[in-house]
Point group: C4
Chain length 241, copies 4
């Protein structure tokens, strides 16, 4: 199924606006970050940012259409982001496992996500527990819960990294259709991937995660703060050694 | 007493501006926060944000009129914020206890408020003492005082939460008409409620509290800082254990 | 000597711009801060912000002319800021002691200034040593120096506070005309006063001090950081007790 | 080779935009910072900011052309930045050692760079290791590397400082044309120098370094964080003494 030109043009403008906003908020500096929207479901095709662009000034031509294998399929000759395969993996895998449909995937590099992903890599995940703001993640209806954000060691070999992510996703319990086990994941010292039914939901997930990352990190910096997750216990253990 | 349409339209535009501002300042991210203004006093009616909206882009229709019980009364069929009952409680209870009239109620979710509300929940309140900026709270005329901000454990059951808040308000001494015991309260890992005679005063209270939360939290992070309230002593005690 | 109306109108607009800028940068929240410019030197008269205004939205009428004793002298009936006397003191005293002429006085309330003024009040001053940015203060030509910013316990009695400030200024050595001993002072848990030959210089001093306050505070928070001033040693001493 | 007037006019406007942006981001406050672009290669000539200007409001005349020795050569009579010699050194030395061509040099003063340059001066450099964002530095293609940013003790004698920088650059191994040993350096308690083939690359390097400085500094502040470089070990050693 082909999508017509106008929706893509609109998607491009909305992704450009995301780039301007996220650069301004410090989440997409340098040439970091990549963003995609699903423009065709069967066969799967994504419109994704071209590799190495300044996200504060994305042009209309800084996007390329790729197929389910991350291969450009629009004849433009443009090179998609190095991490295209992760976008394809998410868009393909999450709905097939019972998660909500994926219409957009966003990847950002924030300071808070970067430092927490380094600090908690030994645990394998970042636990975010007990915050009202968790209700901003799709399907979560109470603060009395937690989000366990997987952290993967960073890699430049996308096939190898994608295989690790796939294995972790497959091992999770997706039986609750309203509460998928993951709303995003972190690459260590790198950044956050999240997604949503559409670009607005994916953008909200970025905003929610970034707020929560800042809360978790600053809470750890606050003397005497009582934190809910096991990560605090671990860090106190490390401090006392 | 019915209010006429133009005041409501104006109130809506001012609340939309609050949403844009507070989102930009990081106090109303995701779909968090809710805002209301009292549009009728007898019977009590509030105009309040509709549930689950992005506060950076509130539309003219993202508001609903509710009665003193938090039930929509404008026939629009819109669903008001889940926390509507807390707005009604404040607007009803504070003036009846001897506090100033309440014309607006604002609820925000900031990082600093969130982490302090978690850290000091065991104390039951956050003490803010000795700051000149306290004079920005209605009725306070000197820095040589303190504000004891109640912290309530978060809940999704608004009836239960409202009952706890009501009990705490009723137990306080409201005998000084110029200096009510509370200008706001925190829900743990959630956010701040404050109010004012009108929207401008409520907005100023948010600004004052957010500044003071940041001062209190950063002071605790500063090695060797001498803080005025008992919370510092408590935290040092915890650190030494 | 009377100044003509146009300069005042221009000064008002520049002070309003300062208010918008400083509010946006978090230095003049709530109804905090006050700003003045000297509009007549002999006799001394200042144009100063009216008490209790939101600095993000100063109107043309939110200013009042006061004489050397801080008494309004423009017949407007407007009430000047509670701290008017401190502005008059600075504008009168600094040049008479051998400092540069004072054309503008700015008072701001930042988070960093507030928490440092509380932490270092026991020392009586905040030492800022070794920073290149010190060269932005009038008359300082090298990083290899220090600024000792006096800290005064906050007070609501302006006569009493002014007397303490005057005594400290009189006790200092003003013999180097290019390097006055003070470019500003802090009121504890309150904020910063600084001044300049004109509004641009006073604004630059605010910007320099705020940058340096943030550097000093964050340096103390950085584990293992070596700081130049005695305040670090003091804080380590306190930590080890 | 003379460059024609229009490119200079364009360069001036782009440098003025850099000033507005960097001031807004807190990297060029007061009269700090200086920026240059190479306008002629043979003989070497730079267009550089005039000394002591507010970078948020650079005018068309706030630039001066200097030769390879940092001497003004445009007959304007304008005084170039005190640190002009460092710009000339970089533009001359880096390409001659095997680094990429230098088309622009940017110098900024951020809080994070300032405090890290003070903390790690005893080590002589700041190590930034393992971050994906390192790939934003020219020639770096993997996160699994490190950037060792030299830190020089600050000085007001530019000849002496330039000699120290030159010696350090000459002592480094520049044999990998795609991965020069330095993309920038820090002056202690002062700021960052970086460069690029053109202004866009130099601006990107500033943005990358600033992000990484903030990550490194905040990581150190995070209890229990595991950092990759040796600086963490050093700081823990210092803390335990």
């Amino acid at each position: 199924m082909e999508v017509t030109s106008p929706p893509s043009a609109d998607a491009i403008d909305r992704l450009r606006a995301i780039g301007r906003e996220f650069h301004g908020r410090g989440w997409s500096l340098g040439t970091s970050s990549n963003y995609s929207v699903v423009v065709s479901r069967d066969p799967l095709e994504l419109l994704i940012t071209v590799s190495g662009k300044d996200k504060s000034a994305l042009g209309r031509d800084d996007f390329v259409r790729v197929n389910a294998h991350g291969v450009p399929c629009d004849g433009s000759g443009r090179k998609s982001s190095a991490e295209t395969l992760l976008h394809c993996l998410i868009a393909d895998l999450v709905p097939s496992l019972g998660g909500a449909p994926v219409g957009a995937v966003l990847h950002t590099h924030s300071v808070w996500g970067t430092i927490l992903s380094a600090a908690d890599l030994p645990r394998g995940s970042l636990r975010i527990a007990g915050y009202e703001m968790l209700k901003g993640l799709d399907g979560i209806g109470t603060h009395d819960t937690f989000e366990e954000v997987p952290i993967f060691a960073n890699a430049q070999d996308m096939q190898e990294l994608a295989a690790r992510i796939r294995a972790r996703f497959l091992a999770a319990d997706w039986s609750d259709p309203k509460r998928p086990p993951f709303h995003g994941f972190l690459l260590s010292r790198h950044g956050l991937y999240t997604w949503g039914r559409d670009l607005a939901e994916a953008r909200r997930h970025i905003e929610i995660f970034e707020f929560l990352f800042e809360c978790v990190a600053r809470s750890r910096m606050l003397p005497g703060a009582v934190t809910a997750g096991p990560s605090r216990g671990q860090q106190q253990h490390q401090q006392q050694q």
